[in-house]
Subunit: 165 residues, 4 copies
């Protein structure tokens, strides 16, 4: 019987808009209330906001860092993972999660969305990328503008529950 906790990734850029930071913090808060562990890239911006939110509710936070030192983690990361592999750590962030919640973000976030979809990990997007490719109708980012709803969907997907909320 596994002791694994439920990890949910929050991804997004280091330089979010104030609205994106607010969304990410609320996502972190809601995830902690539901008992999920927040996993992220460990740095500032959306990552820090999500950790701050989770931490304020007593949740556990994991930061998977690109560099070679834990000193660069944002102050709300409780478990720093020091990979030293640069942007390749993006893949570990999404692969470690049962569901990915993307808030805003630039090309790094886009690469994380791509890696998540490649590995069959559901992606929920708040104010983030749109993708299209000729001949493909199946691209599955679940879009919402409500952080509570994003977390509610994420938890249902993570726990394998059927039906709507």
């Amino acid at each position: 019987m596994s002791q694994q906790k439920t990890l949910i990734a929050v991804i997004g850029g280091a330089e979010p808009t104030p609205e994106e930071a607010r969304l990410a913090e609320e996502v972190g808060r809601q995830l902690a209330r539901k008992g999920a562990v927040v996993v992220c890239g460990g740095l500032g911006g959306v990552m820090e906001a999500a950790c701050r939110g989770a931490s304020s509710e007593g949740g556990l936070t994991v930061g998977i860092l690109p560099g070679g030192s834990a000193a660069n983690a944002n102050p709300f990361v409780q478990v720093p993972i020091v990979t030293g592999i640069g942007y390749a750590r993006n893949i570990a962030v999404v692969n470690s999660a049962r569901v990915v919640i993307a808030v805003g973000g630039s090309y790094g976030t886009l690469s994380e969305i791509a890696h998540a979809l490649q590995n069959g990990i559901p992606v929920i997007g708040l104010n983030t990328w749109s993708l299209s490719r000729a001949g493909r109708e199946d691209i599955s980012i679940i879009l919402t503008e409500d952080p509570a709803r994003a977390v509610s969907i994420a938890m249902r997907l993570a726990l394998g529950l059927a039906g709507d909320e």
Copy 2:
């Protein structure tokens, strides 16, 4: 004075359409004629077609492989790089190139496009992804349907030449 050769990446899926395979092979052929080294992910499909094209013109081919053995390289890879780091090798493929040419492709290719754009490496697309994000007008995949033209643009960008062709 550097002895570095000019590396151009050809990226795309392992299961291309016949038309995509034809495009990739022609891209490989043209790159070899211009003296470029083809770098790719080393496996089948678009990667193999590009290597076959380059090899048929006497060009050098480099395959950056995800697994732990050179045995999985396609038969036209001359220099197999055995990373063992899985999909994280996608980042090395694009970072090693001065310009990236994408042919078709699925989520793995999308992640490579994202990593290239993140690192400021120009991307030329043949029948590949379209990206959009609210508020951003600057997303720069150069789209064309002609492999010779793709290579011509790539070589100009790689060599830092100004002006059009």
Copy 3:
């Protein structure tokens, strides 16, 4: 003010002797009692024994996995980090720790010891490798046969305390 927990790595092989497994489990137990988080490679053998020991004392356990799925984690891993980068994850295991405790182990463990020493992370060894190189007297694996003593030294080093125990 950082919220970072104190991570200590326990490294060693997937096929330990019964004595090595006993040592690793006791190391895990002692680390949990001192409030440290056990970080390891997440698989069986020494890694599982350390997690089992820590878990039995209510400690937190982190497994940094080589493959692409959390399903391969040992059952006592609470926070699975799914890197997908193969043996390259060894570097993340040791870099994430303030101190490394090696129990037995083969070449994988040797690579982890080397990476730790390269990054200036102290290594405490129980029944593990000896290293030598002509002209170097400074190779610093702290050897002991007592798991309680290993943990005591590790915690002092991790917390930056001077003096002996």
Copy 4:
């Protein structure tokens, strides 16, 4: 029928003694004369000396770089592989080779030797680490002080030839 070239890794530190640099350059020269491709970590010291030697004989040189730019390659690298994964690139250096030749070196070289032995890749050592572990008699670094002999052994192992030289 594979078009793969024969890659031999030359590993060692960035700050070699003059004698180690001389050995590495001679190893590079001999490898090029035998038609092998030199693969290395792409930076200075032993890596640069090996590339300089190979290049002086018209050989092909591949540098697998830790950082995110080809600009840090030594001037004799012809094919720069830009991994961006830091020290994790050490694993790719040895895995890409049929045989590894170690010249001097510190902990980074030790990690590469460990990874090579873990993957069953033969290691030939010139003035490098000695390893021992209680109960193991099978640790197989082939020691020599003659670079021509090191290359001769390496080529026989790489090409699967039996017998002595």
